[in-house]
């Protein structure tokens, strides 16, 4: 756990409305040094609003934000330079090269040209071979890595990333995790929003936000402990037609259909023998039945239903 002195960001009772609609409704959150916190939730849950409030792009209606252990009404310039913000719509200069973009953003932050830092960032993001390429000619994944590098030129202590991996291919995404991991090792704090729950598996803690409220804020492991159910993987021929026939059966809390298998979610007290018997009675030819650990998607759907569902 994070000790008090290590807290980089502390949020208490944050609230914000837009035209009478509550975008955020009393959110508490904290991020410590070396921590990677993922913010997940449906579209319109308030993820982007929260990040914008932390960046000082919007003013909260109520609540407090403490940066680096100091409480203040407004984000001061001293704290501002310690933040790095990458939005969904970060714009690079498409007609500048990779290196020129890095240089430009570093000057924006009032820094003298620092070739060593530029080299380090290029290396760090595995972009060195592409330093002379125009940003506009990079693939989506590379652009996003460059955008991340540009938010690191002033060596911020707290990184705020708003859905940074949308449209990024798996290879660049792996690089992206490696970069974030290295930043964590350096003691930087990261707050990232994402619509992808498998990405949140990598987080130190996951904040699940729904309709402007925080439903859970836990390590992925602890979050899964809140899940009151068991997941069984069923392998059978034609899972798709079985999915349709089993969906309405009360014994299953949820069913997930995959290309070549089914996941059956049942109450915690249900035993594997009961499920097997039930399936066989239904006429399912069970090739394989095995309990699997719940994914964050199972937990997410469970917690949202528990809180009153999605409207």
């Amino acid at each position: 756990m994070t000790s008090m002195s290590d807290l980089v960001l502390k949020i208490k009772g944050l609230g914000k409305s837009f035209a009478g609609v509550k975008a955020l409704d009393g959110v508490d959150l904290e991020v410590g040094r070396g921590e990677f916190v993922c913010l997940v939730g449906p579209d319109g849950a308030g993820k982007t609003t929260l990040i914008r409030l932390i960046c000082g792009l919007e003013q909260a209606d109520r609540g407090e934000i403490e940066y680096f252990g100091r409480q203040q009404k407004k984000l001061g310039s001293k704290e501002r330079v310690r933040l790095g913000y990458l939005s969904q719509y970060f714009s690079l200069y498409e007609d500048l090269t990779v290196e020129e973009n890095l240089d430009f953003f570093s000057r924006l932050y009032g820094q003298a040209r620092n070739q060593e830092l530029v080299e380090r960032l290029l290396e760090f993001t595995r972009m060195t071979p592409f330093r002379q390429r125009q940003a506009g000619k990079l693939s989506g994944g590379m652009k996003q890595k460059l955008a991340l590098a540009c938010t690191l030129v002033h060596q911020p202590d707290l990184l705020l990333l708003d859905e940074p991996t949308t449209g990024v291919d798996p290879v660049s995404r792996r690089d992206f995790w490696q970069i974030l991991f290295n930043l964590q090792l350096q003691g930087k704090a990261i707050l990232m929003s994402t619509p992808y729950l498998d990405e949140a598996e990598r987080a130190s803690r996951v904040a699940l936000i729904h309709q402007g409220r925080l439903l859970a804020f836990e390590t992925p492991d602890n979050l899964k402990k809140q899940f009151a159910g068991r997941v069984f993987e069923l392998i059978t021929s034609d899972p798709q037609s079985w999915y349709k026939r089993l969906k309405s059966q009360a014994v299953f809390l949820d069913l997930q259909l995959f290309g070549d298998r089914l996941h059956l979610v049942v109450r915690p007290e249900v035993q594997v023998s009961e499920i097997a018997e039930f399936l066989i009675n239904q006429g399912v030819k069970v090739e394989h039945l095995e309990e699997v650990p719940p994914g964050l998607e199972n937990v997410f759907i469970f917690l949202i239903n528990k809180s009153g569902g999605q409207n």
């Binding site: 949308t166 290879v171 660049s172 619509p195 992808y196 992925p220 492991d221 290309g259 070549d260």
Partner: protein
């Protein structure tokens, strides 16, 4: 064997000296969902454009819904549906107006257009939203509308090019329910995605790299056949402290942090050695074998290809 909706043999495309697609063969049955995976620039889009009859292959052949892409490209355009991430809905038209517009583009009119729109709205769950302005809808709904527009003319083969970028988990689930409905109606669906957890929903997968297909199979088969190492989940009190150390052990092929745990890829023969070394560190830990994700498989295959390229002197 079920009837094939898409069949390609040795399909290739050269742009000048650059071989974008290199002898791609694939087949998709009616009613099947086929996931076409690959990094940016691997040749996915070029292949799809050839299958849609938009681009003439340099070599090889393909048939789509029984039409030849070389000689019957015009017919193919009428029996396929296409939707991409950058779906081109008219933001300032209502839902109903977009449906009517795209229906007419596909040559529907009169009572036929009307009844198809009603059917599709029911299928997708767009009833009651007819007068909503498209630009003001959440992205999950826009995506459903885009799919609706692409299937009004009852295409036999549907191409979905990165259809779910940036959509939340619940909307994604709903969207996949729709894709399964298409499959139940006997349509063939080809999907590309960068999110490999989504590839788990497909019946069949092919991974393309540098224009060539390097792995194919169902999701479980892919994990079994194309991931030779042991993937281990390691839980211990100070994962960051031992991370650097693990990386130096010769049997360790990769380490990454997952929450408070580490995922360690250990080569097939090195498991015993790895356990011994861990024990000699004298810290408390727990270790278990875990299933690789499709993303693990994908990255592993691409790294293997990169090594081959290096050995062959390519960059």
């Amino acid at each position: 064997m079920s009837r094939l909706a898409v069949e390609a043999q040795g399909l290739s495309k050269k742009f000048g000296p650059f071989l974008a697609v290199d002898h791609v063969s694939l087949s998709i049955s009616y009613g099947s969902i086929f996931g076409f995976l690959g990094a940016n620039g691997a040749g996915k889009s070029t292949t799809i454009r050839m299958l849609c009859g938009l681009l003439r292959p340099s070599a090889g052949w393909a048939r789509v819904a029984d039409y030849d892409v070389l000689t019957e490209a015009d017919r193919i355009k009428k029996v396929i549906g296409y939707m991409s991430q950058r779906f081109s809905l008219y933001q300032d038209l209502t839902v109903q107006e977009n449906l009517e517009f795209f229906g007419r583009v596909y040559g529907l009119n009169g009572s036929k257009l009307k009844s198809r729109i009603t059917q599709v709205k029911e299928l997708v769950g767009l009833q009651g939203l007819e007068n909503k302005l498209t630009g003001k809808m959440p992205s999950g709904w826009k995506q459903k509308l885009a799919l609706s527009c692409a299937i009004l003319h009852e295409p036999e083969v549907i191409f979905l090019d990165e259809p779910t970028g940036g959509v939340d988990p619940i909307s994604r689930r709903n969207f996949w329910e729709l894709i399964y409905k298409m499959s139940e109606e006997g349509r063939a669906v080809l999907v590309t995605t960068h999110y490999l957890d989504e590839a788990e929903y497909c019946h069949e997968l092919s991974l393309i790299h540098a224009g060539r297909i390097i792995a194919s199979g169902g999701p479980r088969e892919m994990k079994k056949n194309y991931f030779p190492g042991n993937l281990l989940e390691l839980a211990c009190s100070k994962p960051l402290k031992i991370y650097e150390k693990l990386k130096t052990w010769p049997e360790v092929q990769g380490v990454s942090l997952f929450g408070t745990r580490l995922h360690v890829l250990v080569e097939k023969e090195g498991l015993q050695k790895f356990k011994q070394r861990l024990e000699s560190l004298g810290l408390e830990f727990s270790l278990r074998l875990i299933n690789p994700t499709l993303e693990d498989v994908f990255i592993h295959q691409l790294e293997k290809e990169a090594e081959k390229d290096k050995a062959n002197g390519h960059s």
